[in-house]
Subunit: 314 residues, 2 copies
């Protein structure tokens, strides 16, 4: 859905990579995350400061091959290494459909999927995944369990102004973001984590070393350019050199799609859509409706029949 | 060490990626490996046909975020899913120093590092890693165990004309290659596997879906361009539009470095270098010396003291 925006933005979005550039494994030997491109890190900080959706001060940025890799890196980093049994990984239903298989496909002795956070009653430590706005239903989420020994991972892939009002700068221990949802560039496979505890960050970096020896430098350079264009478009909207504000245009696009969707659903008898609570968006400086990028339809009569509509991918 | 070659090759090595290109997760929905860029796959086949180092017919190409990811994908694909204990993973010593930690860091219930293939005597199925030329010692390798239930994974990262004579086109069940060793582009994190059994390939693809939801399209496009330049440089060497043959230049560079290295070692008393058997290289069409990209020095008096010299990274 963002393709036409990027087309209109023209050449300023283009990256040019000569054959002799970025050949080494290393992006920045002075950074604990030695495979993090400094230019990408710089634009991530600028973007969060601009949008106001996350505190970046006192955080290690860890780049990953999509936020999927960072999700797995977080499980590895947070799981106790000497425990007698794997730590439980939970999330409140409905949760991202890939969480269970991603957690369990290697039958790890470090962590294990333990299902719905709402019904979780096992003693001892656990990792709770908090996806907000939630995938697949778009609701703002907070942790459900709140017990001693609980460790939280916040997946904020959709916490951007086009999808939900930006109510405050989040200040969590470990937060995941991804380019695929914020800018639409899924094919670059770039995500990032903001990590408070340097020891946790080190273990995540170790995970990425062992699984892929770093992250594509080409994609990081491209993502850096894309973020820079978005930032400029928001700071100087409408000028020829900066173009139309990405977040305003994409917010408008989502609003149009949600209006069409609500009209279509209201004309039929078989599906319903949830009502979301509006809120004040600090970034857009206006009251704004949540308009999730993904939506689960629940058929009201036959409860077992679900349809997913991927609003952003249409 | 290849950086100056790529600089000399100039603009023909450059990739230009506009902001609206390759945004989707999908590279090729008709390929079982849906995240494989068709242009990259095409150049991989052309390169193997040119060099004659591997049969590509009847193989599924699986692209990975470096060959590390493909190594893990192979373990996942080859391990029995319903076994009572993890399958043993072995390799003849000295082996690639990261094999044990890569195999065991997630404490997988599917596979487990079982050490040196030469002393492996456990009953039942196993996966043997055959690295040839070997990392770290540069010798040509074949499988050591040869027992029923044995599954082989061939890591041929260094089976290129600049490092070793190309004696024949390999025809194994599962072979790994990587751009980082063949062209020097480690930072792109692109490797590929040639896989005979479509069911094994499918499981490797599933692994990559679950761990990183595909592979950077930007890096694949860049790797495709790099391989294309190499192919053209070998087919029409010396012409202005194709440049000097990459494999001839890099073979010459390695020969120079090995000569300097042998002279330095011979002047000292503390280190020795192995003698390699020369062979006929089908690609260079001449008798050629092995000149490994990595070399382990064994100090002859104090046997426990090892030094590694990374010839290609100097």
């Amino acid at each position: 859905m963002y393709e036409s925006y990027w087309q209109q933005m023209g050449e300023k979005t283009t990256v040019v990579i000569p054959g002799w550039q970025s050949m080494s494994y290393f992006s920045d030997v002075k950074n604990p995350c030695w495979f993090l491109e400094p230019e990408f890190a710089k634009q991530v900080v600028r973007l969060h400061n601009l949008v106001g959706n996350a505190v970046t001060e006192g955080r290690q940025i860890v780049v990953g091959t999509g936020s999927s890799q960072l999700f797995l890196a977080a499980l590895y980093a947070l799981a106790p290494k000497d425990a007698s049994e794997p730590i439980s990984v939970i999330s409140a239903a409905p949760f991202y459909s890939s969480y269970p298989s991603m957690t369990d496909y290697l039958k790890s002795g470090l962590y294990k999927w333990a299902g719905d956070a709402r019904s979780f009653d096992k003693e001892g430590p656990y990792i709770e995944l908090v996806t907000s706005p939630n995938n697949p239903d778009g609701f703002v989420r907070h942790s459900m369990v709140n017990r001693t020994g609980g460790i939280l991972v916040h997946d904020l892939a959709y916490y951007w102004p086009q999808y939900t009002p930006i109510s405050s700068a989040t200040d969590h221990d470990l937060t995941l973001f991804t380019v695929s949802k914020s800018t639409g560039h899924a094919g670059t496979r770039i995500g990032w984590a903001l990590v408070k505890d340097p020891e946790v960050a080190k273990k995540m970096i170790k995970f990425i070393e062992l699984s892929t020896i770093g992250v594509s430098r080409d994609s990081q350079l491209r993502a850096a350019r894309i973020l820079e264009v978005i930032i400029n478009s928001s700071q100087n909207p409408g000028r020829p050199e900066s173009g139309e504000s990405f977040f305003k245009i994409s917010h408008h696009l989502m609003a149009e799609r949600w209006q069409l969707l609500r009209e279509a659903v209201n004309r039929g008898r078989f599906f319903s859509l949830p009502e979301f609570q509006q809120g004040f968006c600090q970034f857009l400086n206006q009251v704004s409706q949540p308009q999730p990028g993904k939506q689960k339809f629940t058929e009201p009569l036959i409860k077992s029949c679900h349809l997913y509509n991927y609003l952003c991918n249409a």
